[in-house]
Symmetry: C2
Amino acid sequence: MRYHKIPDETVRRLPMYLRGLLLCREQGVRDVSSRKLSELLHISPAQIRKDLSYFGAFGTPGVGYDTAKLAKQIRGILKIDTPNKAALVGLGNLGSALLKYPGFGAYGLQISAVFDNDPGKIGKIVKKVKVEDVSKLSTLKNKNIKLGIIAVPASAAQSVADALVKAGIRGILNFAPFYLDVPKKVKVITIDIAMVLARLPYYLPASA
Amino acid sequence: MRYHKIPDETVRRLPMYLRGLLLCREQGVRDVSSRKLSELLHISPAQIRKDLSYFGAFGTPGVGYDTAKLAKQIRGILKIDTPNKAALVGLGNLGSALLKYPGFGAYGLQISAVFDNDPGKIGKIVKKVKVEDVSKLSTLKNKNIKLGIIAVPASAAQSVADALVKAGIRGILNFAPFYLDVPKKVKVITIDIAMVLARLPYYLPASA
DNA sequence: AGTTGTGAACTTATTCACAGCC
DNA sequence: GGCTGTGAATAAGTTCACAACT
């Protein structure tokens, strides 16, 4: 299967597999079958095997997957085997929460630059990172930072995205409820939290 | 098309259409074609028409869709035409940001109950909502709150989910990196922020 | 016996293309 | 002329089922 195009959905699931494997490791489990992983993540065993097969043959028939080895492989595929630095733009409520969020470390991600346009925030040091003026975004070029996180209001999101692209950013995680127009070479993933929550009432039973 | 099963992907896009329509309304646009909406949201015109057709015929050939009328229809479909109250569990960094997040209003969503297990937070009033002890989750039953937001560490997420379900919650937005085991009647949507960010390096060009 | 890896079958989702309408 | 609504065609994604391996 190694020469096929990789489905987007497969890439979306890879971090989940990694999460499951880390959970196994914590519990001292050395080998895990696609069925056991399936119980943990609620993704079908066939799906797991198929997804992994796009990248190679990592398992042992009759045994399963070596948790440490497979985790390493997946990190390599996702390119998170070496640390990735990210720049955060917008130190409002959400931005501050992201800066303090402890979950990024498990995936080798680190927010190592922060920008805001509020003079009251610029210059402050939060989580060992100095808050800089958004006009200084271009300085990212010299810092080997390829990932950006946008946590500003929708009205400012596009101009921030433009500045990030100009500064050499190649991947953007966008929390603003707005479609960002960027060059094809830049990958954008948008999380619109309100929009996700807005989907839930649809599934509520009719009788309130 | 009215009698088909609705694809999940269609439901996922409905809030986007609503966002596009609100944007049009702000600009004073009365009617919008699927093509104009497409340019705004980057969803194909055919996709937009097909999605809407599952629920009825809302447009006028030669003209497009009346923005106000269609917005109202979509709100009805999503059941957000009347306000929906949500309970937030976990007032850490992320929980606090969510409580202050201004974006929910546009979708008729309101966080009207907050729970935490930190004695230092219980009793405080944030954004006009009094923080209660998580052990009081069962009181939700009397408050007609059907939506829950979980913003607690992964280790506590399942027990919080159990309590929410017991308290009559039927829809959960989960930010903990953990698969939640709940009865089929309860809809869970999980956002694992770190996992989403972890996908970006994959798309970076090989040469750093 | 137990599990992987994978082509084939199936299911789901998207796009095409055009009749019908304004 | 321009647009919607939709069946038909296409593409994408998932599951089946089993040969091959430990």
